[in-house]
């Protein structure tokens, strides 16, 4: 399965071994599954959001400007993780690590802002068990947030591995796969921002 004798240096490091190619393709398939997962959470929100009597309305408790900032923060972290891969392909491990750390800082910032938002919402009477709209809101955004948290831990571990063992086809593969994951989280957030927050502010 691993054929370290025949590295094709025309190809980025992460694609150079059989394992690398398999893992990357496998991860894209996994992302397809994640789309189905988030779609279901999303569908629940849209199916349930209109049928509630008690509990605050999103338009009354969302801080939309705050959410725009959160969105830009996450988008920026996706951008910087792309820069990290760019540096990885130029064999610049130090620059790669710097961009990855910046990515994680922005990611942690997003998470901090989201938790603060949840606390604010809870104080405003919008809790997990208040009604169907808020249950589905928290499960959708919470699942996304848990994914972000897992991503932060994962990428941290990978930074350690890359520093310890340098840029090999194996570590390059890991960095690349984790960056695909990280990009995907912003991909999902586009829809959360649009469908939950933006549309929640309309009317």
């Amino acid at each position: 399965m691993e054929n370290t004798n025949k590295l094709n240096t025309n190809v980025p490091l992460e694609y150079q071994t059989e394992t690398g190619k398999l893992n990357i393709l496998g991860f894209w398939i996994f992302l397809g599954a994640e789309v189905a997962l988030f779609s279901t959470l999303y569908a629940a929100y849209f199916a349930l959001k209109d049928g509630v009597m008690e509990g605050p309305l999103p338009i009354d408790v969302f801080d939309f400007n705050y959410t725009i900032i959160m969105t830009i923060v996450l988008l920026t972290s996706s951008f910087t993780s792309g820069l990290a891969i760019h540096e990885m392909r130029r064999n610049n491990i130090k620059a790669m690590v710097v961009w990855l750390i910046i990515t994680l800082l922005f990611g942690a910032g997003f998470l901090y802002m989201e938790i603060a938002e949840f606390i604010h919402l809870v104080h405003s009477g919008a809790t997990l068990g208040t009604n169907a709209l808020w249950s589905s809101f928290y499960l959708l955004t919470g699942t996304h947030g848990v994914h972000v948290a897992i991503g932060i831990v994962w990428i941290t571990l990978i930074i350690f591995q890359a520093l310890k063992r340098g840029l090999t086809p194996d570590t390059a593969k890991k960095v690349f796969v984790s960056s695909l994951y990280w990009h995907f989280l912003d991909f999902v957030w586009i829809f959360v921002f649009t469908g939950v927050y933006l549309l929640g502010m309309v009317k």
Binding site: P12, L25, V35, A43, I68, G82, L83
Partner: protein, 102 residues
Amino acid sequence: METENKNVQANRFPWSQVIGFLLSIVLTFAAVWVGKITDLSYSQIAIIVFAIAFIQAAVQLFMFMHVTEGEQGKWQLGKMFSAAFFAIVIVAGSVWVMNSMH
């Protein structure tokens, strides 16, 4: 070799990332403008902002994630198209079915 494509050569400015980033910001604010500044009806806004969201998602798929890269680029792209199809079925299908219940 399909993997040796424009995005992948070393020592070039990361155009793909930067353009993708800027486009994403523009699209985000365009959606905000449509939703908050214009005076359209809810369903009109919904259609437009979702269209914008799909465009931004596509921008990120191609410019950040390089979905067509690799020997299996076509499979990856196909997977994302089918994912989009199933996402629409699940979300729109569920909303349509549940709203029709009496």
